[in-house]
C-alpha cells in the first residue's frame, strides 16, 4: 500500500481504538470498536486478503458489536456508571499495553528488513483460504465449531433455567 495512505489509515485506526478505551459513554466506545474493525478490514483488503476482510466486517462489525450495542442500549447506563475504570486498573492496563507495544517495536527493530516473497494468483481469495482450512487446519476448524456449539447449548440451558 502507498505509504501516506497507510499512515493516514493507521492514525485513524489508533484514534478509533483510543475512543474505545477512553470514551466514557459506552455507546461511543462500541462505535469506536466498529470503526476500528472496519479500518482493520481495509488493511486486510490492502494485503490482498479480501475474504478475511469481508468476514471481519460480516462477523465482527455487522453482528457481534451490534449485540454489544443492543445490550448497552437495554441496560441504559446512568451517568455515574459511565465513569472511567478505577485508577490502579488503568495503570495496570496502560503498563500492559506499553509492554506489548515495546515487544512489537523491539521485534521490528531487531529485523527491520524482513525478506519479501511474491504471492501467487488467487492469494487471499476464497478458494485459497478454504483449501487451507479444510486440509491443513481441519481439526482446529472442527474443534472450534464444537466449542461454539457448546456455547450455544450453554446459553439455551441458562435461558431455560427458570422454566417449570
Amino acid at each position: 500500500m502507498i505509504v501516506p495512505l497507510f499512515a493516514v489509515l493507521a492514525l485513524l485506526t489508533v484514534a478509533a481504538s483510543l475512543v474505545v478505551v477512553l470514551h466514557t459513554n459506552p455507546v461511543y466506545s462500541a462505535l469506536g470498536l466498529v470503526a476500528t474493525l472496519f479500518l482493520l478490514a481495509v488493511f486486510f483488503v490492502a494485503l490482498d486478503a479480501h475474504m478475511v476482510a469481508a468476514l471481519q466486517i460480516i462477523v465482527y462489525a455487522g453482528a457481534i458489536v451490534v449485540l454489544f450495542l443492543f445490550v448497552i442500549m437495554l441496560l441504559n447506563l446512568q451517568v455515574e456508571a459511565r465513569a472511567m475504570a478505577p485508577a490502579p486498573l488503568v495503570v495496570v492496563a496502560a503498563a500492559g499495553g506499553l509492554l506489548l507495544g515495546g515487544l512489537v517495536l523491539a521485534a521490528v527493530l531487531r529485523e527491520p528488513e524482513l525478506p519479501t516473497a511474491a504471492v501467487g494468483p488467487g492469494y487471499g481469495g476464497t478458494e485459497a483460504l478454504a483449501e487451507r482450512l479444510f486440509t491443513a487446519y481441519t481439526l482446529p476448524f472442527e474443534l472450534t465449531s464444537v466449542l461454539l456449539l457448546v456455547a450455544i447449548v450453554g446459553a439455551v440451558v441458562l435461558g431455560k433455567k427458570r422454566m417449570p
Binding site: 479480501h50 475474504m51 466486517i57 451490534v66 449485540l67 442500549m73 476464497t126
Partner: protein, 365 residues
C-alpha cells in the same frame, strides 16, 4: 492510466445512477400502486405547467422538495452527533453494496474489453452481505440517539430483526454459491447464460427455487417493510426508530428503505433471474435454439443486456411493492418464529440438499 480511471469512474457512476433511478421509480410505484390496490387515485395534484405525469411530479419533484424545506428538529436530550450520523449510516452501506453488481457482460470499445461491473471482487457476494449487515447501525443509532422511548423500542426491534433474517439470507445464498461454484456475481451471471436441454436458459431460479423464496422473504424483512415493518410499526411506535426525524434526515431514512428494496431486487435478479442475461443472446448476438442467428455489434449487445438488467430489477421492485401493499403486519412473535423456525431450517435443508445433489452428480450443473 487516465482513461482507466475514467472508465472505472464511469462504471461506478453508472451503477449508482441506475440504483437511484430505480429507487425513484420505486417511490412512484409506492404511491400509485398503493392507490390502485386500495381503489383510489393517488398522488395527482402537483404539476409543472399543467403536466402532472400520472403523479410523477408529485412523488419525484414535489415530495422531495417538501422534505428538504422542512425544519430539521432534534429532540431535547438527543445525542447531537449520532442523531445526525444515523441517517447517513443507514443509506450509505446500501448504496455501497451496488459496487459489485454486474450490469452487463463485456463491452468491446476501441480495442478495450470493459467488464461491465464497477468492482470485480473475488468475494463479491460476501461484500454485499457485509455492506447489508452494516445497515443495521443506522437503525440502532437512530433509536438510541433520539432520546425517545418509541425510537429506542423501534431500534431494538430493528436490530434483532435484521440480525435474525441475515442468517437465513446468508444460508439461502450458500445454496446458490454451491451451485455456481463462485462468489463473484459477474461469474454467476455468466454461468446463467448456459442452456438446459439446448433451449432453456439456466437461470438460478431453476436450480435454487427454495433459496429464491427464502432469499426474497429474508430480503423483504431486511428492508424493514410491511409485513416486516415492526421497527416502524406506526400503530404502536408512532414511527419507530425514525419517529424523531424530520425534513432531509427523514427523507434519508425513506431513501435507505427504497435503496434496500432495489438492492434486494438487483441481487435477486442477478442470482436467480440471470442478471443481465437476455435469453439466447451471446457476445456475438442472438443464437436461437431453432437455428436462427442475428449477429449484433458489441455495443448493441451491451445495451440490450443493461436494459434487460434494469427491466428485471424494476419488475422485482414492483413485486416487492405489491407485496408491501397486500399483506398485513406480523406480530413480533410471528416474525421471530418465521425467521428462526421457518426460514432458517428451510435454508439449511436447501444447503444440505444442494450439497448432496452436487456430491452425487459430481459437479455443478
Amino acid at each position: 492510466m487516465g482513461i482507466e480511471v475514467a472508465i472505472a469512474a464511469a462504471k461506478a457512476g453508472f451503477i449508482l445512477f441506475l440504483a437511484l433511478q430505480v429507487m425513484g421509480l420505486g417511490v412512484f410505484f409506492e404511491r400509485k400502486v398503493s392507490a390502485v390496490i386500495q381503489d383510489r387515485i393517488g398522488a395527482n395534484r402537483a404539476s409543472i405547467l399543467g403536466f402532472a405525469g400520472l403523479g410523477l411530479v408529485n412523488t419525484l419533484v414535489a415530495d422531495p422538495i417538501k422534505f428538504l424545506l422542512k425544519e430539521d428538529i432534534r429532540p431535547a436530550g438527543a445525542d447531537r452527533l449520532l442523531h445526525t450520523l444515523a441517517p447517513v449510516l443507514s443509506v450509505l452501506p446500501a448504496l455501497a453494496a451496488f459496487a459489485v453488481m454486474p450490469f452487463g457482460d463485456v463491452l468491446e470499445l476501441e480495442g478495450r474489453t470493459i467488464n461491465l461491473q464497477a468492482a470485480a471482487l473475488n468475494v463479491g457476494i460476501l461484500y454485499v452481505l457485509a455492506m447489508a449487515s452494516l445497515g443495521v447501525y443506522g437503525v440502532v443509532l437512530a433509536g438510541w440517539a433520539s432520546n425517545s422511548r418509541w425510537s429506542l423500542l423501534g431500534g431494538i426491534r430493528g436490530s434483532a430483526q435484521m440480525i435474525s433474517y441475515e442468517i437465513a439470507m446468508g444460508l439461502a445464498l450458500i445454496g446458490v454459491v454451491l451451485t455456481y461454484d463462485t462468489l463473484d456475481l459477474q461469474e454467476m451471471a455468466r454461468r446463467q447464460g448456459e442452456l438446459v436441454w439446448g433451449w432453456l436458459p439456466a437461470w438460478g431460479v431453476l436450480y435454487q427455487p427454495l433459496a429464491f423464496v427464502v432469499f426474497l422473504v429474508a430480503g423483504i424483512a431486511e428492508s424493514k417493510r410491511i409485513p416486516f415493518d415492526l421497527p416502524e410499526s406506526e400503530s404502536e411506535l408512532v414511527s419507530g426508530y425514525f419517529t424523531e426525524y424530520s425534513g432531509a434526515k427523514h427523507l434519508m431514512f425513506m431513501m435507505a428503505d427504497f435503496v434496500e428494496v432495489v438492492l434486494v431486487a438487483a441481487l435477486a435478479a442477478t442470482l436467480f433471474f440471470g442478471g443481465w442475461q437476455v435469453p439466447w443472446l451471446g457476445r456475438e448476438g442472438f443464437a436461437f435454439p431453432w437455428g436462427g442467428q442475428v449477429p449484433l455489434p458489441s455495443i448493441a449487445v451491451a445495451a440490450l443486456q443493461v436494459t434487460a438488467f434494469m427491466v428485471k430489477v424494476i419488475l422485482l421492485t414492483f413485486f416487492q411493492i405489491v407485496v408491501r401493499w397486500t399483506l398485513p403486519r406480523f406480530r413480533y412473535d410471528q416474525l421471530m418464529r418465521l425467521g428462526w423456525k421457518g426460514l432458517l431450517p428451510l435454508a439449511l435443508a436447501n444447503v444440505v440438499l444442494t450439497a448432496a445433489v452436487l456430491l452425487v452428480t459430481g459437479s455443478a450443473p
